[in-house]
Symmetry: C2
Subunit: 239 residues, 2 copies
DNA sequence: TCCTTGTCAAGAGCACTGCTCTCGGATGTG
DNA sequence: CACATCCGAGAGCAGTGCTCTTGACAAGGA
């Protein structure tokens, strides 16, 4: 027992160090607006750079840890926002809640958003561990779509059948995300998801040079238009 | 005359050097998959790094030149593709042509696409010169929308009026891009543009982990769905 | 109690980066 | 021919990721 306790102490201290290093890295990423530098992180912690390598074998490994955390944090934010809507049959409301959670999280942590949805880091290849947490937001949106369909609240707008070649892969995605809906509805959902992602990227990466200033309002309108495109009834009052 | 000829010679050699440096930089960006390194560019050209500084005052300046070139190349590709459609009243055909030009260019030069539409480089701020070339693709798409509207070929689907707060800025964009259409149509166009951008980014930045393999087909379907969303009649046969 | 073992921080060092400076040679201009 | 300009080379500075070695410390077993 004693040796296991001792091991646990070691492990706990180590886990705290891991968290501390990641937090400092996140802060530097956000504040300095510079690249992630292991040496800078070490300096900030009053350590020498080689000491950090006791905890992360390379800069990429630290980056991977940050990316994983970011995926999970974003996924959790979406899940919570989706679950917080009391009226489960208010599908448009649920859709908007998740869409806004998406943007709110990204706007609050633009650098972490860039980490997971920006251009990939040159030499870096995302390990397979990032796949599962990366689809959590899509799963949340898919559940809303599925519920709306099963409640008969999914309008049949734009039920254009997708090309046959795409059907198998669409079905595979659908089975994971929204098994009950049609392939055409799944297409609309993927498009809506793509649009939201594009909207947030446009905003965060500064592709709107002062042309649109009310970015929150513009995003809200886009999310509502995408709800219409999806065919989700918007029973609450339209703003 | 002689001095102007001589000056021209000097200027021409200098211009060639500028192009050469940019070409080597582009090649390294594409092949090595690494960050842009002035020293590596110089090494590749058989020069010493300090010599490159005769032509570009800093790494950022070289980066800016590459970004400007990329914007203009993409804009030109879109303009050519849009102009190559003989039947000017085939608005869906024009839309699809430009949409595919967009993706084709990006797929052929993923690193240059990442340069202009990926996450911004940490310390880097895009100079104002990049604004004008950056909107060239949007202008092309706007012209199609405007032509379709004036030909009465713009269906009134999803003519949801945008919130009043957004109207002034929407009008400002509209006046530059598609002056004759309604604000609601302009909204749909911006959304469609955002979706296309998101789709290309998802593809190039590897956000589809094997879930979709027929990326060209998937993009084509998205572009067609966006044409429907826009309300552009698709008179040619649907594939 | 002594001693082994694992863990950790520190420091030196390598190869690379962006960038600055100076120096010497080439080139075109008067 | 003399002058001015331009350009390439080289040294050097501060920073980076990463490796290796060294010394300190704590935990566990004999």
């Amino acid at each position: 027992m004693t040796e296991r306790t001792a091991g646990s102490i070691r492990a706990r201290v180590r886990a705290e160090m891991l968290e501390e290093i990641k937090n400092v890295a996140r802060r530097q990423l956000a504040e300095d607006g510079t690249d992630l530098s292991l040496r800078a992180v070490a300096r900030d912690m009053g350590m020498v750079s080689s000491a950090v390598y006791r905890y992360f074998a390379s800069r990429d490994e630290l980056l991977t840890a940050l990316i994983l955390d970011a995926y999970n944090a974003l996924g959790e934010a979406c899940e919570k926002a989706g679950a917080a809507v009391e009226d489960r049959s208010d599908f448009a409301g649920r859709w908007l809640a998740v869409a806004h959670a998406l943007r709110d999280w990204a706007v609050a942590r633009p650098h972490e958003y860039a980490l997971i949805y920006g251009s990939p880091v040159p030499g870096y290849a995302a390990p397979q561990d990032t796949v599962e947490p990366s689809i959590r937001p899509v799963v949340v949106l898919g559940a809303i779509l599925n519920d709306a369909h099963n409640a008969g609240a999914l309008a049949g707008v734009f039920a254009t059948p997708p090309p046959k070649a795409l059907l198998p892969e669409l079905r595979a995605i659908k089975d994971v995300v929204a098994p009950d809906v049609s392939e055409a509805a799944m297409v609309r959902a993927l498009i809506a998801w793509t649009e939201l992602f594009g909207a947030i990227s446009f905003e965060l990466f500064g592709r709107f040079n002062d042309t649109i200033t009310d970015l929150a309002g513009w995003y809200d309108h886009q999310a509502r238009m995408m709800a219409l495109f999806l065919g989700i009834d918007d029973q609450p009052a339209h703003v």
